[in-house]
Amino acid sequence: MDFNDTPEEAKFREEARAWLKDNVPKASELEGLGYIEQAKLWQKRKYDAGWACITWPKEYGGRGASAIEQVIWNQEEAKHDDLPGGVFSIGQGMAAPTLMTWADDDAKARYLPKLASGEEIWCQLFSEPAGGSDLAALRTRAVKDGDEWVINGQKIWTSGAHYSDYGILVVRTDPTVPKHKGLTYFYLDMKSPGIEIKPIKQISGDANFNEVYFTDVRIPDSQRLGEVGQGWQVSLTTLMNERASIGAGGVNVGFDSVFKLAQKVNIGDRPAIEDDSVRARLADWYCQEAGLRYTSYRTLSALSRGDIPGPENSIGKLVGAPKTQDMASFAIDLLEQSGAIWDEELSAEAGLFQGTYMSIPGLRIAGGTDEIMANIIAERVLGLPQEPRMDKGIPFNEVPTGGSKG
């Protein structure tokens, strides 16, 4: 056990650090660009220099780096504030691992390098109004017509559908068999005729998600991943990677920000950080953050032996999202009545705590609710039995629905 860099790791870190120092985009380069253009500029620069998706094989645009090197790279990149990004996480973090596992060589060569370079953005079309936690209850239909499939139905909670070039899609190809057996997995061009995208306004006021409607959308059979009826199995590849990547970050209220706030604001006539109840809460959150960090390092040691990400990854999101919610709520309390103010100029930390408070409920649901995550740990890690299911073994079109429409 050694938490220090090996000489090779230290050399890699130095190389990454030096390249970042010289190549991180300057504010002047980003000025006037929209956030997608900004993200594409930075991604392409990394790609050209061999610093994009570094664990991918070289032929697909990576550098064949180890999982540990990926962590080192992430640590070094995170030292630079305000780098544009985020729009590629679904494509690179979920679509790409699925393509690598299930696509043929031609498709891999066609799509993976452009995912790595940021030239093409992907989205994920899984959830439906009638199938959220019970994803396999989805109803969007695909019917074979010659060498093509014709898609009709509706997806929901699709991040970035409006700016994506491609999407990964699970649909029902056979409603006469039990639900998990009638699904098939495709990827498709998001500019295909018959796709209509409507943004969903969230309680935070943002609209990061969309409803996506399909009316007679045609997909070539060559864009199928896995066999007809194997869609559930293929989507599990995507979902395990989703849970890993959602758990990995994307939020920034954490121990450091609340600790700093507690040094600045008072409780009574002394700094909040001197109050024992504040210290106890902060200590617990510190323990959770450290525990998640070292758990991910332990997972890495397993990954570097060649293991695939397992259900253990569910911990990151299950612990991280409620912790972030509680910390944002606690920080607002520390601010007392002015904690209610949510304004970039008037709020502490430009409204970080209020913004997180309003956006974090979504993270406890996205990619599997807290409750589903706990079920995954209970069933797949601890080996406990599933609850009895009313739809087990029944053809999908005979399953009771409670009147919800797909």
Binding site: L282, N375, A378, L382
Partner: protein, 372 residues
């Protein structure tokens, strides 16, 4: 970076696990629970034979010269078995205090005998209800003699050597003292606790001969450093116990049927066990970092120790109480073994400072490392 135990260390874990399954089954814990004994002398003798008391003592002082990583592995397995032996007192505290601060003569006098199990050591800090601090110490040294009452002191009834924290001779602050328990100025009476599988006593010092350990006046800082080091080892014991409690709850929930199906299939139970798993996993990962910091004497040790200690204390408490809950009424009976974990979890949580103390120490350590 490498976040795993080595192959040799994993082999040691397997060996320790087999040894304790054979020599410390629940019946052994129960025997001590139901007797007036402070420990299981036969098991202790075998633990000594295994060389565990000698693990981190240097070879020239009769030890095995192993690293602290090996000691962490042993601690976890002892915790899992709820072993009724004075290992934490003698090894994590008394031996460690001598290794940290002993003079060459003190080390030569005591360490070979601690290694060989001829001497059982303990650490005496508490002086009754509430937190004992450098200022509150009522046990005082005068002319090389100690007087005062320490209570509760773990393993006081069987210890041959005590490391006592006391106000030092003619100056400010505290000092550590070595006290040979076999002398007229020392008397010990048993103190009942809610975990009779680990003996505790009242230690009355009445002009007891005592030798300073380390520099007088620096005793409090030394004690804190000792507690940081011991905290990592206690945390491994706690994680071992928490894991065993989870396994016991899991096994019972799989076999117990209600309303026609195993209770392990109900989400109320599944989520409870998932929460145990999450808390145990985070605590274990923090213990990995603690083990590394202890073994390398890293600057991060105060943060790492407090992090491991707080999360392990919380994980063990949660797992032990929810294990009883999962068992329902039977979990509350004397006949069932769930009580072992519930008793031990709380005993360990106050053994070297409560959860609240360590939460506070953690934030203090973060403040110091940010200021550095």
């Amino acid at each position: 970076m490498n976040f795993e135990f080595s192959e040799d260390q994993n082999m040691l874990r397997d060996q320790a696990s087999r040894f304790l399954a054979e020599n410390c089954p629940p019946a052994t814990v129960r025997r001590v629970l139901e007797s007036d004994d402070d420990y299981d002398a036969e098991l202790w003798g075998k633990v000594v034979e295994m060389g565990w008391t000698a693990a981190v003592i240097p070879e020239e002082l009769g030890g095995l010269g192993l690293s602290y990583l090996e000691l962490c592995v042993i601690a976890e397995e002892l915790g899992r078995a709820c072993a009724p032996v004075p290992f934490s007192s003698s090894v994590y505290l008394a031996t460690e205090a001598l290794l940290m601060a002993g003079s060459q003569a003190q080390k030569e006098t005591w360490l070979p005998r601690l290694a060989a199990g001829e001497v059982i050591g303990t650490f005496a800090l508490a002086e009754g209800p509430g937190e004992t601090t450098a200022k509150s110490l009522a046990t005082k040294a005068a002319g090389g003699k100690l007087s005062g009452t320490k209570v509760p002191v773990p393993d006081a009834g069987i210890a041959n050597l005590a490391v006592v924290v006391a106000a030092h001779d003619g100056g400010d602050g505290a000092a550590l003292y070595l006290v040979d328990m076999a002398q007229d100025g020392v008397s010990v009476s048993p103190v009942p606790t809610f975990d009779p599988t680990r003996g505790h006593g009242r230690l009355v010092l009445d002009g007891a001969a005592a030798e300073p350990l380390g520099k007088p006046g620096e005793g409090w800082a030394l004690a804190q450093k000792l507690l940081d080091r011991a905290a990592v080892l206690f945390a491994w014991e706690q994680v071992g116990g928490a894991q065993a409690a989870l396994e016991q709850a899991r096994e019972y929930a799989l076999g117990r049927y209600a309303f026609g199906r195993p209770i392990a299939s109900y989400q109320a139970i599944k989520h409870k066990l998932a929460t145990m798993y999450v808390k145990n996993t985070l605590a274990r990962s923090n213990c990995y970092f603690g083990a590394w910091a202890l073994n390398t004497n890293a600057a991060e040790l105060p943060v790492a120790a407090a992090t491991a200690r707080v999360s392990a204390t919380q994980a063990y408490y949660f797992a032990s109480k929810e294990n009883i809950q999962t068992h329902g009424g039977m979990g509350y009976t004397w006949e069932f073994d769930c009580q072992f974990f519930y008793r031990r979890a709380k005993l360990l949580s106050v053994a070297i400072g409560s959860e609240r103390q360590w939460q506070n120490k953690l934030i203090t350590a973060v403040e110091h490392s940010n200021a550095a």
